[in-house]
């Protein structure tokens, strides 16, 4: 059975996470169970350690990123945001996305324009992330949390594409 990631890392099950504490708890556990602690021992001990460490790594990576944490929390509440029924995207966000993609395509060789686009996208992303705590607070507004998390998933994909273009340019 996969353990609840929050329980595993001894953190309260909530969207707002104390990132410093997350790091501390993660490293404290790693120091005890990492395969390096069992390198000279027998295979069974090594295997147990690899299994558990992989789980702790997964938990840590998920809780570290706001977007993945939101997605995971929704999953715990019984919502799979990748389901068909949530696929409708608000008109304004759709337009915004198309605008960004067009800008990326037109400026794929222009470093300054790409950097400007990257910072614009990043600002929009952070604005959306900042809305999540209120939506999640006492499960205040989960439908909007779902909508926002989906949008953030799209934004992260665009961010990656802009980044890739920036690496190719210059």
């Amino acid at each position: 059975m996969t353990q609840n990631f929050f329980t595993l890392l001894n953190l309260p099950e909530a969207f707002v996470v104390d990132l410093k504490k997350l790091d501390q708890h993660y490293q404290a556990i790693q120091k005890e169970i990492h395969p390096d602690r069992f390198a000279s021992l027998n295979d069974e001990a090594k295997m147990e350690s690899v299994k558990k460490t992989a789980q702790v790594n997964d938990a840590y990576q998920t809780l570290k990123s706001s977007v993945r944490r939101a997605e995971y929390l929704l999953h715990l509440y019984g919502f799979d945001i990748n389901e068909e029924k949530y696929s409708a995207v608000p008109q304004d966000f759709l337009l915004q996305q198309m605008e960004w993609r067009e800008e990326l395509e037109v400026n794929s060789k222009n470093k300054e324009a790409l950097e400007k686009l990257a910072s614009e996208v990043s600002i929009k992303k952070n604005e959306k992330i900042d809305l999540l705590p209120t939506f999640f607070h006492e499960k205040n507004n989960l439908p909007d949390a779902i909508k926002l998390t989906r949008e953030l998933n799209f934004i992260e994909k665009i961010e990656q594409h802009i980044d890739d273009a920036l690496i190719e340019v210059s």
């Binding site: 909530a14 556990i29 390096d36 027998n42 299994k51 992989a54 702790v56 790594n57 705590p133 980044d163």
Partner: protein
Amino acid sequence: MALLQIAEPGQSTLPHQHKLSIGIDLGTTNSLVATVQSGLPTILKDKDDHVLIPSVVHYGKNITHVGHDALPFLLTDAKNTIVSVKRFMGQSLNHIQYKDALPYEFDETSQDIQLKTEQGIKHPIEVSADILKKLKTMAEVSLCGEVTAAVITVPAYFDDTQRQATKDAAKLAGLNVLRLINEPTAAAVAYGLDQKKEGTFIIYDLGGGTFDISILKLHQGVFEVLATNGHPHLGGDDFDQAIAEMIKKTCSLNQLNHEDKRSLIMEAKKIKESLSTHPDVTAKFTLSNGKDIVFTLNRDTFILETNDLVQKTIQPIKRALSDAKLPITSIDGVVMVGGATRMPHIQSEIKTFFKQEPLNNLNPDEVVALGASRQAHTLAGNKSDQDLLLLDVTPLSLGIETMGGLVEKIIHRNSTIPVAKAQEFTTFKDGQTAMSIHVLQGERERVSDCRSLANFTLTDIPPMVAGSAKIRVAFQIDADGLLSVSARELSTNKETSVTVKPSYGLSEEQMIHMLTQSFENAEEDKKIRALSEAKIEGEQIITAVQNALHKDGKHLLTQDEIKDIQNAIYTLSSSLKESDADLIIGLTKNLNALTESFASKLMDQSVGNALKGKSIDKVNL
């Protein structure tokens, strides 16, 4: 089992016994061995005081020379003298660059790289094993004792096949590998501990044949790799090759024999090294047909001609920074590793790129082996550096082939290892009992652009209506960066068998064949050794289980479980008085199996212990 250690970190089961462990930097051009002596990592020297052991093997009629002993044959017997074999590890024949410039005879009938030598066909894994054997013996002579375990370094950008090949070579050499660690990580360990540094560092590691970039966060003994990137076939050798091509062109040389090809590369290397300290260099040498060659090269031309090679290292740096989500300004230092970083134009390029002076305060040839020896020392169970923790990542994404020749990524590059991910599959025909899965490594979208790792066939799927079987395939990358796969049919909870057919590398049969060959003359030794190893392992496990039972048995196990375990301990300990290795191994396995769930409970308990006292604070929402 021996899981009790997790409750008492640093306490080895046999504290009185100091274990000889070594760190090996198995390099393209040179290899090094280091060990921790009185708490300090030290590079070991051979009988002639050499520190760098050339990664060169000569296969003579009845004799194999390795290292310095093989050097005299470089020019006199080029075909049988293998250099830079690391570049062949885990590769297929059509992956080799400059194949025609190499003085070897390849077996062209095989997709695998097979070198025809005086001693018959040699696989790169066997050549590497011969280098490792030499290093092991050298360490044993120097340390006056048997080396029990080793850490071997590999380029961070090595894929699964190349790592597996390295591990196979160690097995052939009779080395117990505690861990494969990434070269830049090993360098960071040596650097961080030596200079007592904290912060975010980039390791720029340009060796003889490989290029790695790793970004690490160093904080209170934790070395966390944030991202890694690199180029699997880029190193000092390519700069030599570029100069050799210039000589060929300038002096209109074609149709060279094996020895001339070799001397051209050796001269090129000398020119490259001189250019690091001289503005221009003239080489004079004679070809085997008596033709005299005079060739002059100045540094500016060299820089111009090899600029594309230097630029090839910049792209991976940008990718690593992007993956780590770090701006260039957040880098506290750039550590230069590998002999090729001595070239002045590399130093200046890196200085310009990072806008800071690169760090060269440790010997770029030795730093990897020194770091590896530290890690070997800790992993072997010696008490020291207990707070040292390396968190490394997998360099390449792992995926499976889906419809239309595309790759679906399952584990993303730069995931912290160990990592495990599962994927569910279903059958598309009624009564289907088998299924093929193609595993690939790489970042590209198309199957043909990625590295094929293996084809798995899942068999024994219970026959069902199409789409109703649910097969969960779990992919796991362990702390060595090596992949393993398991599968289970969910509706019947039946384990499906996985047949692994590696796309490259050695099959199980080839491995066994090579192993038996290398032990042919030592059959008796092998038996004695197997028995003593079995006894040691048996004793260790008994002590470990007894301690664990004593400490945690009562609250984690039932009366019956304890009784069964005690019985197994009794039969195993009686067998230790006999000389039947197979029996001891069997009974050890039996005890291991019996304590498996106990091990898992102890692991959970130690997660709890790790966080004891760290109470959940109220978080204001």
